[in-house]
Symmetry: C2
Subunit: 371 residues, 2 copies
């Protein structure tokens, strides 16, 4: 099996180090597309995508460039040329589910284990379990950066600023961490979880998402006083044929399982008719865990057991869950939602649909679901 | 695909109810072997195993009788006749790994997802991950009965006797619960976890195993005073090519993940070179979760992606881990192990190999690994 890598950053180099470790036979990296000439002399490096696209011996392409441009065009071309694609790119796949249809039309596979929850075999198990079981919800802590920051705050008493700086110093957060902090990364992963669990596509921007970027000491204090930690959670329930989905900071009681998932770990959970509740906890990012997720897809391809996700149509997102929300805001228009004022800037809401309260929230406000 | 069930108790009826739910096409239960004539008129019931064995249309047999007799002979005959076997029987498979060789010789599959950790896809993932990754340990809470009892004791303040009675009333414990309480059930599941993770067979009786059958208020009190709960854990680490395995009650700090797995749930964990730590939590028993695990194996067979475990040889069990043990015993011969006496009947040991202390322990003594 001859493969090519598009991109050789954190994830791509995880793939090549595992392959160089030598335990896998029969998977050869023939070419690696890179953006710039590298120092090390490696004949596999190329700056020219056409070399990969037009090489008939390369039957599978691993896309680990990230972003949409040029990865969307590259993946589409590879699929159209009859090559399987294994992608770690949650943004690409969540925004462009048409790529799965391109794969199907061309009789090849588009696989995505590494796109969501890193080394945790979440995508594979959603696919397997949904073959016959009826999954009714998926939820999880999908973003290691936020979880690292929130753990440092709640377990070690750091401020938000200190925790973010430490995350950046340790390579857990990028210099512009807004995709992680604002909940967009979590939302892409939730969209892909929905696709694999319910076989429905949903427009990612229809899912309400708030992040932890405006987390303040006030909210941290509230959590601690109430025996809770904060976690950034993506969640989707099936309710009367509709999907109730959100990405929100949530207060979690210290005794709950989700509260015990710390550092940069992920937890993902599904509820289903036959299995009840199933949770998986592990490394949601990192070079080797994510690289290994790609290798698992490659091994499935080699064994002939790989399958692209089956898409049964588009899903309808409803107004989000009803709940009691913790809100920090100075907006006057929110007064009708106040059930209990905590101090002059924060309150607990009446029980209301998430959407109604989000419509009034300003960009700089903070909202979290209470425990 | 025509299948037959051997046995129609809790697990077997889980399989038929899921199939009758109608979401799976192409799997037909042709015959069900039962021990006694049933009241309901179901043409599929038979008392005669030969009817199943000699039916050339039945290509797969699901064994959910439990025990060794006659299931060993039946499974062997089915495999020899060229039928795939899906088994939920941990005792059978742990004691008779030769059955996997019989399957291989006959070019059929022997699958065991349901045998260990019920609805949790543990066996499948061990098989998948060990294709290329190097698993270095497997451990878990494998027995739902003990976990239910220990949860009631530590979370709800029940006595051991009350908790056992309640487990029996709720169907979580059998009228003779000794296989669960003494750790034998956990040991079988550990043997199978070792087989799938390390591809090594180990004689089950070479793994030291103690259970919670002699748990007393004294030990419960010790745990509570030290911020710990007790869990019955099966564990195996690779140490210098040897396997360090044990089944023991373990004190677990309340803040640890394992302490949050309560009621009749299971947690299983693996550590590997590429993935780091991966934990799975779910229903380890019950009609539907275990039935669904069997269905997953059947779906793999139907898709042609099923594989029996590959056995690479036999594993050597070493003297067990070194540790500090909590011991309740009146045996004089244990005095050399005492580091700190707690009261006249219990003590904390010096750091020592498990095997040396077990050799001196009496049947009625209690031992647990400290946190």
């Amino acid at each position: 099996m001859k493969i090519a890598l598009l991109g050789h950053g954190i994830v791509g180099s995880g793939v090549t180090s595992i392959l160089e470790d030598g335990k896998i036979e029969g998977i050869e990296v023939a070419k690696i597309l890179t953006k710039r000439k590298r120092d090390r002399k490696d004949e596999r490096y190329t700056l020219d995508f056409d070399e990969i696209k037009n090489d008939p011996d390369i039957d599978t392409v691993v896309e680990c460039m990230g972003g949409e441009t040029p990865s969307y065009a590259y993946v589409k071309e590879c699929l159209s040329k009859g090559k399987n694609v294994v992608s770690a790119n949650k943004m690409l796949l969540a925004r462009h589910p048409d790529l799965f249809e391109t794969a199907e039309r061309n009789g090849v596979c588009l696989l995505a284990e590494a796109s969501t929850a890193g080394g945790i075999p979440w995508i594979k198990e959603l696919g397997r379990i949904s073959r016959n079981d009826e999954i009714v919800s998926v939820s999880g802590i999908f973003n290691g950066t936020c979880n690292y920051i929130l753990s440092k705050i709640f377990e070690e008493g750091m401020s938000f600023r200190e925790a973010l700086t430490q995350a950046q110093e340790n390579g857990y957060a990028e210099s512009d961490p807004s995709d992680d902090l604002c909940g967009y990364d979590t939302r892409y992963k939730l969209v892909l979880s929905i696709l694999y669990a319910f076989h429905k596509t949903v427009p990612y921007d229809k899912i309400p998402a708030r992040g932890i970027e405006h987390l303040s000491d006030r909210a941290i204090e509230y959590g601690k006083q109430n025996g809770c930690v904060l976690k950034l959670i993506g969640s989707c329930f099936v309710r009367e044929e509709k999907l109730q989905a959100y990405v929100l900071p949530c207060f979690i009681r210290q005794e709950d399982l989700f509260a015990k998932v710390n550092e940069n770990n992920n937890i993902v959970n599904l509820q289903s008719k036959y299995l009840g509740s199933l949770s998986l906890i592990g490394q949601g990012a990192g070079s080797l865990p994510t690289g290994e997720a790609i290798i698992q897809d490659l091994l499935d391809l080699r064994e002939g057991s790989a399958q692209s996700v089956r898409i049964a149509g588009s899903g309808q997102i409803d107004d989000g869950p009803e709940g009691v929300f913790y809100v920090i805001s100075k907006a006057k228009s929110l007064e009708r939602f106040i059930d209990q004022r905590i101090d002059e800037e924060s309150f607990l809401s009446i029980r209301c649909p998430l959407k109604t309260i989000l419509e009034e929230l300003r960009e700089e406000d903070f909202i979290a679901l209470t425990a």
